[in-house]
């Protein structure tokens, strides 16, 4: 673990926290039908706490509907939580106003999954990347285009592509535009929501390398959201696993992938196909589907699909996220 952390150029122990989420909870009311009087509630994010450490990447994995994207939107202050807070630079981001709120918006940026729908088709690359600069008055209008070219160079786009429109770019290049736009305000934190999921494997590798390069150059902090376990393993320093809105495991990259403690993490890891026919692994097949978050299982939320489930222990209450080994948290009674 130490060797790996040196290779990645970081040391976990002496990291400064840049953004901290404390007991975040987000509940959406859902219509239960026209004739129903009682509204249903969907707990999209349920008591999630963690911190982003400066210059490192925190990976977030989970299946669709587990609350990954809702969590990202909460951290960006695009949604307000029902309870809990997010501390950035010593302030709760949900209480920021005016100039301070604008400051926060500059510091925390997002890269979206789909580079087709997240770029305005009627604006050229230069205006897309330059717009945040104008809105936040980062540089005088006369210097915008030179700054845009600088950013395009940083993300590996040609300067003469500045007047081209999104449809003239390939999906990998569009994702580069999205990255340049996120970088334009010199943010400290970038939240990347499935940034490589829509890309082919050879292009995916280019974008992963790019994200790592700019992290090293600009000392950026990433929250990297993905459903692809191999990509998260490659890029992250620490990883957390979400299931039905709750964090079930949180550990350093090496610990989580070499000896996962939560049965759900184990099943996820064993389900991911490995591109090596000689690799002989034992697959843990989960039975059934993801339960609906409207009606989560009683007790431990994973109990309905868990192979190790013990009715007398697991069906009482959801287990707390506890530190089972140094720096390795899991929410399971049995480990």
């Amino acid at each position: 673990m130490l060797a790996a952390s040196i290779e990645k150029g970081t040391d976990y122990m002496q990291q400064e926290q840049v953004l901290e989420a404390i007991h975040l909870e987000k509940v959406y009311p859902v219509s239960a039908g026209v004739f129903s009087r009682k509204p249903l509630f969907l707990k999209a994010v349920d008591d999630v706490s963690f911190a982003l450490e400066k210059g490192t990447t925190l990976g977030l994995v989970g299946e669709s509907g587990c609350g990954k994207t809702t969590l990202a939107r909460l951290l960006l202050n695009l949604e307000r939580p029902n309870s809990g807070e997010v501390i950035f630079n010593g302030y709760n981001i949900y209480e920021l106003k005016g100039e301070q709120k604008k400051q926060f918006r500059r510091q925390v940026q997002i890269i979206f999954q789909d580079p087709y729908s997240s770029l305005n088709p009627r604006k050229n690359a230069g205006s897309i990347i330059g717009e945040p600069l104008l809105i936040h008055k980062i540089v005088p209008r006369s210097e915008v285009s030179s700054r845009v070219m600088q950013l395009m160079d940083l993300v590996g786009l040609q300067k003469d592509q500045i007047t081209r429109y999104p449809h003239e770019f390939s999906s990998g290049q569009r994702q580069r535009i999205g990255i340049a736009r996120a970088l334009s305000l010199n943010p400290q934190v970038i939240i990347a929501d499935e940034p490589v999921s829509a890309l082919d494997v050879s292009i995916q590798a280019q974008i992963i390398n790019l994200l790592q390069d700019i992290q090293n150059r600009l000392n950026l902090t990433y929250l990297f959201i993905s459903h692809d376990l191999h990509v998260v393993h490659h890029i992250s320093h620490r990883v957390m696993v979400m299931y039905l809105g709750k964090l079930v495991e949180f550990a350093s990259n090496e610990d989580l992938y070499t000896h996962p403690l939560h049965p759900y993490t184990e099943a996820l890891l064993s389900a991911a196909p490995v591109a090596d026919p000689a690799y002989n692994k034992k697959r843990i097949l989960l039975t059934g589907d993801l339960p609906t978050p409207l009606n989560p299982p009683r007790g431990c939320i994973f109990s309905s699909r868990c192979q190790l489930m013990k009715p007398d222990i697991c069906l009482e209450k959801h287990p707390p996220l506890e530190e089972k080994q140094k720096g390795h948290f899991a929410a399971c009674y049995l480990k």
């Binding site: 790996a4 290779e7 990645k8 299946e63 669709s64 390939s170 990998g172 290049q173 082919d200 494997v201 050879s202 292009i203 995916q204 590798a205 280019q206 992963i208 390398n209 790592q212 459903h227 692809d228 376990l229 191999h230 990509v231 393993h233 490659h234 890029i235 990259n253 992938y257 099943a267 996820l268 064993s270 389900a271 991911a272 196909p273 490995v274 591109a275 090596d276 026919p277 000689a278 690799y279 697959r283 097949l285 989960l286 589907d289 993801l290």
Partner: protein, 324 residues
């Protein structure tokens, strides 16, 4: 040695669009034996789906047209068949599983009816018996309490369940070949594992052949016996799975494998540049614009797909000037 179940010879499927002729599939040869799983792998736009759709002549025409080639299924050329004869093969002897089960199932019919329809159309089975078979098929694909579930509409099921229904429909007439076009791409990883496990199990118990179209090399490694790598409408490499992963010969295959994220966290080596536009492919080798080993000859003349057998591999076809 018996003759192969399906043999594709020099298949060319072109699309005639305003801007020119898009040669989506340009001279593809493949064979599938009974009980074999062949994976067709490549990045988006390489022609893998068009190849599969061409087998059952499902390519929309116009603009698409199969301009050349033969598709022999049990010795019979599907491209020469009359439409009503072909209909006896589609869904009956060769069936398909599509990527997105939500758009491939009819939202206004109960799933039991949709499965039963297969048998009513192809076998003239009476409705009552067909529905009984539907229950059995749902049981075979691992859907709990199938007697009740046949009355569900597609929207009442989860994505994994819907894909199981699609597979049940594909199995209804006991086909010899299933073409699965990215069958798990829309699914979560734990559900994907269930579906791949189901396909493997069905294949073994029913001696099915499977043409698996995917972009995921992990799935190829875990489910297929043979694999063909496609790029720009051509097969670049075609061999058994073990050989492909241990000794890839074509620089494109090598590039794909090196692009995969690896646990060691070392820097990835992506393939430089991007896929050339299909209407404007380079002269010579189609990979020459991105190949790290490119030399003069590559940009002038296109190499043939030749057999570099040896070191245990019976068939190791590769299209590259380095190996001619």
């Amino acid at each position: 040695m018996s003759s192969p179940l399906l043999e594709i010879k020099n298949l060319k499927t072109y699309f005639y669009v305003r801007e020119g002729i898009a040669k989506a599939v340009d001279g593809v040869d493949l064979t599938i034996d009974r009980g074999e799983t062949l994976a067709l792998v490549g990045e988006s736009g390489c022609g893998k789906s068009v190849t599969a759709y061409s087998i059952l002549r499902l390519v929309p025409s116009p603009p698409g047209k199969i301009v050349e080639g033969e598709i022999l299924f049990e010795g019979e050329n599907l491209l020469g068949l009359a439409e009503n004869k072909l209909r006896e093969i589609r869904g009956n002897k060769i069936s398909m599983v599509f990527q997105d089960p939500l758009t491939s199932l009819n939202p206004v019919f109960k799933i039991g009816m949709q499965i039963a329809e297969m048998l009513q159309v192809h076998r003239n089975t009476p409705k009552k018996e067909a529905l009984e078979s539907a229950v059995q098929l749902l049981k075979d694909v691992g859907i709990p309490s199938p007697e009740q579930r046949i009355h569900d509409y597609p929207h009442q099921m989860s994505g994994g369940m819907r894909q199981r229904v699609m597979i049940a429909m594909a199995l209804a007439c006991e086909p010899q070949l299933i073409i699965a076009d990215e069958p798990t791409t829309a699914l979560d990883v734990t559900v994907q594992a269930q579906i791949l496990d189901l396909l493997n199990h069905l294949k073994q118990t029913r001696n099915l052949a499977l043409l698996l179209i995917t972009h995921d090399l992990g799935i190829v490694a875990e489910t297929a016996q043979n694999v063909a790598v496609m790029y720009a409408g051509r097969i670049m490499e075609y061999t058994d799975v073990a050989t492909l992963f241990q000794r890839p010969l074509n620089p494109y295959t090598q590039g794909l494998l090196l692009s995969l994220p690896r646990p060691e966290g070392k820097r990835l080596t992506p393939i430089k540049g991007m896929v050339p536009p299909i209407l404007n492919l380079p002269v010579g080798c189609k990979f020459s614009t991105r190949c790290p080993h490119v030399f003069d000859k590559c940009t002038m003349e296109e190499p043939d797909l030749i057999n570099k057998q040896g070191a245990g591999a019976k068939r190791h076809l590769v299209r590259c000037w380095l190996h001619q």
